[in-house]
């Protein structure tokens, strides 16, 4: 996959990134083109939910528990038990749940989208669609990207709730924390924007996972083997992008929104 005239190292990667952004722009434009593919959107949302919801639940319970236990013992060491609840809720909502969501949206949802579009591409269905005067971006990619975004936001909400409940359970039952202190502390430190940034991150992660999966699916390197490679790459690329974007968003958020009580 070298761009014509690639003369310096990284030129190929830059060209790929450019094409990825071009697809994203195309998706943005096509979102507002009638008729909106509502059926496809609902079907895809349902499909992505069905492949992600169980693994998400299974991952989020231990994840919440680990964070709660870790923070529980840490706060006890420094004598700040009263903040255990707040700290673990913040950690879960702001960091853990978008990351868990991202992993599952990319790993389960994105890979399914990429494999689906990839096999359609090598069966020439995509070409046939273009020749029949129908834009595959508007018809297939937009509903999938929007579905990934929607499901990502919903899953993030679910992970937050399950994670917080898991944290509460482990902290109160296993580490003998007091329920009152756990609940009281998070209204002392947590604030509503914490939830918004969490959902916003999830939305962006869904977008990235959807666009990357669609891009790799529409451009497999040829043959059924190419589709397998494309799926593989889509997941890895998405992970890299998601962790990077998470870092950027977190940094900006912490700069822009003052922490409560400071």
């Amino acid at each position: 996959m070298t761009a014509p005239g690639a003369s310096f190292p990284g030129a190929g990667a830059l060209a790929e990134a450019g094409k990825l952004f071009a697809l994203a722009a195309d998706v943005a434009r096509s979102t507002f083109r009638r008729p909106f593919q509502f059926r496809e959107f609902v079907q895809q949302s349902w499909f992505i939910v069905s492949v992600t919801i169980l693994p998400t639940a299974l991952v989020s319970i231990p994840f919440g528990a680990v964070i709660a236990l870790q923070l529980g013992s840490l706060t006890r060491q420094i004598g700040a038990q009263s903040f255990t609840g707040a700290a673990s809720v913040l950690a879960i909502i702001q960091q853990a749940s978008p990351i868990v969501t991202a992993l599952l949206i990319a790993g389960a949802g994105g890979s399914a989208i990429c494999a689906d579009l990839g096999s359609r591409t090598i069966r020439e269905e995509i070409d046939a669609m273009k020749v029949l005067g129908v834009s595959p971006v508007q018809r297939l990619v937009v509903p999938r990207v929007l579905a990934a975004m929607l499901v990502s936001v919903l899953l993030n909400g679910m992970v937050s709730v399950v994670g917080v409940m898991g944290g509460y359970f482990f902290n109160v039952i296993l580490q003998d924390g007091t329920p009152g202190a756990y609940l009281a502390s998070f209204s002392a430190l947590a604030q509503l924007p914490d939830l918004w940034i969490s959902e916003f991150k999830a939305l962006i992660f869904g977008l990235i996972a959807g666009v990357v999966a669609a891009y790799r699916g529409l451009n497999p390197s040829g043959g059924p083997k190419g589709v397998g490679d494309a799926v593989n790459q889509a997941v890895v690329i998405t992970f890299l992008l998601l962790f990077f974007v998470n870092f950027v968003l977190t940094t900006i958020y912490l700069q822009v929104v003052p922490a409560k009580g400071s």
């Binding site: 359609r120 269905e125 070409d127 046939a128 669609m129 273009k130 020749v131 029949l132 005067g133």
Partner: protein
């Protein structure tokens, strides 16, 4: 009537791999053309370039005054509505049954009622012999059926240009013959410009008005069928006869050593399967099913070819003149006797559809 497709100096490569260079040809309006070529010479790539799915680096593809290589995406989508394309594997939508596949273009681009859609779809399904299979999914049927369903879908909007990628591969000879007949009948009925990409020799000999061949990254020849069918060009002759002896090898090209070895084997009496007879020569062209209107293309092409006949090789001239009826020979001012030599046409009976003697020159039909 179909439209003319002009290709000028077209070159396409993927990265460093050149597929073909400097291809120039004209698909005359309303005529049937066949592009031959060994596997892997870029026939499918050529077809996809013609509909703007792949962008050649150089050259032009002009349809109705628009250059497809450089026009905007939205203009491209407009132009594509004139096309009906049959992809190599049918390219049906896997999630829809055959009926919905064929109905897809109608539902997308017309405001027809569901009853009308149903009528048109069933008509096309009958045309390609798929009645009764409407509810089947593409994954449940044979490759040949997928191909025929793909053709039905390509025809449903009455296209002006029909492109078929190997309509015969995966079909048995009988079905291939039916499909050839179907394409010729279609041409008679809607006068569409048709390009068939194939490596089936029977299709190449009997179906088209014009014949071309891609090999070794270039267009070896393109012109009236008589020219290629009588050609001495080694590549063309080898391909039409389907033999090993000649420049085409198992991989793209043959080296001198292989060529010499094969020749030596032959001298030593090795029978390599292919019959020794030479199948070249102008054979009668497929005609529309009786009852259908005669193909306008036959007449237009004859006018066009007769205007350039003196520039063609002698063998081709003989073939062309021999295929004219006495009236036509008179009209064009040539005599079969002039052609001399052994008549290449096996059938002495004139096989050209008789046309009403109306205005001499018909519309369109650019030079090839």
């Amino acid at each position: 009537m179909g439209v003319e497709v002009v290709v000028e100096g077209l070159s396409k490569s993927f990265g460093k791999q050149a597929i073909w260079r400097d291809v120039s040809l004209t698909l005359p309006a309303g005529e049937v053309s066949v592009m031959l070529g060994p596997s892997g010479t870029g026939k499918s790539v050529f077809l996809k370039s013609l509909v703007g799915l792949l962008k050649p680096e150089r050259g032009r593809i002009v349809i109705n005054g628009t250059d497809l290589v450089r026009c905007s995406e939205s203009r491209l989508y407009e132009i594509r509505k004139m096309f009906g394309v049959l992809f190599q594997d049918g390219a049906l939508f896997g999630s829809m049954n055959l009926f919905d596949n064929v109905a897809f273009p109608l539902r997308e681009h017309t405001r027809k009622t569901e009853a009308e859609v149903r009528r048109i779809v069933l008509e096309k399904m009958e045309m390609v012999g798929l009645v009764g299979a409407e509810r089947k999914l593409p994954g449940e049927i044979s490759g040949g059926m997928r191909k025929r369903a793909g053709l039905a879908r390509a025809l449903v909007l009455d296209p002006e240009i029909i492109l078929c990628d190997e309509p015969d591969s995966g079909l048995d000879p009988v079905r291939t013959a039916y499909l050839s007949q179907l394409l010729i009948d279609l041409n008679a009925q809607i006068d569409a410009t048709i390009l068939i990409v194939t490596h089936n020799i029977t299709v190449a000999r009997t179906v088209p008005d014009n014949l071309g061949m891609l090999f070794r990254r270039e267009l070896v020849m393109f012109g009236p069928r008589e020219v290629l069918l009588t050609s001495d060009e080694p590549v063309v002759a080898q391909f039409l006869n389907g033999r090993r002896l000649g420049p085409i090898g198992m991989s793209e090209e043959k080296d001198q050593a292989t060529m010499a070895a094969e020749l030596a084997h032959r001298e030593a009496g090795h029978a390599d399967g292919a019959p020794d007879e030479d199948v070249r020569g102008v054979v009668p062209q497929l005609e529309p099913t009786p009852g259908l209107p005669p193909r306008g293309a036959v007449r237009r092409r004859k006018d066009r070819v007769m205007s350039i006949v003196h520039t063609l090789p002698a063998d081709a001239q003989q073939g062309i003149v021999a295929s004219l009826t006495p009236e036509e020979q008179e009209r064009y001012g040539v005599l079969a006797a002039n052609a001399g030599g052994p008549a290449l046409t096996p059938s002495p009976v004139p096989r050209v559809a008789r046309l009403p003697e109306t205005g001499r020159h018909s519309r369109g039909g650019g030079d090839a």
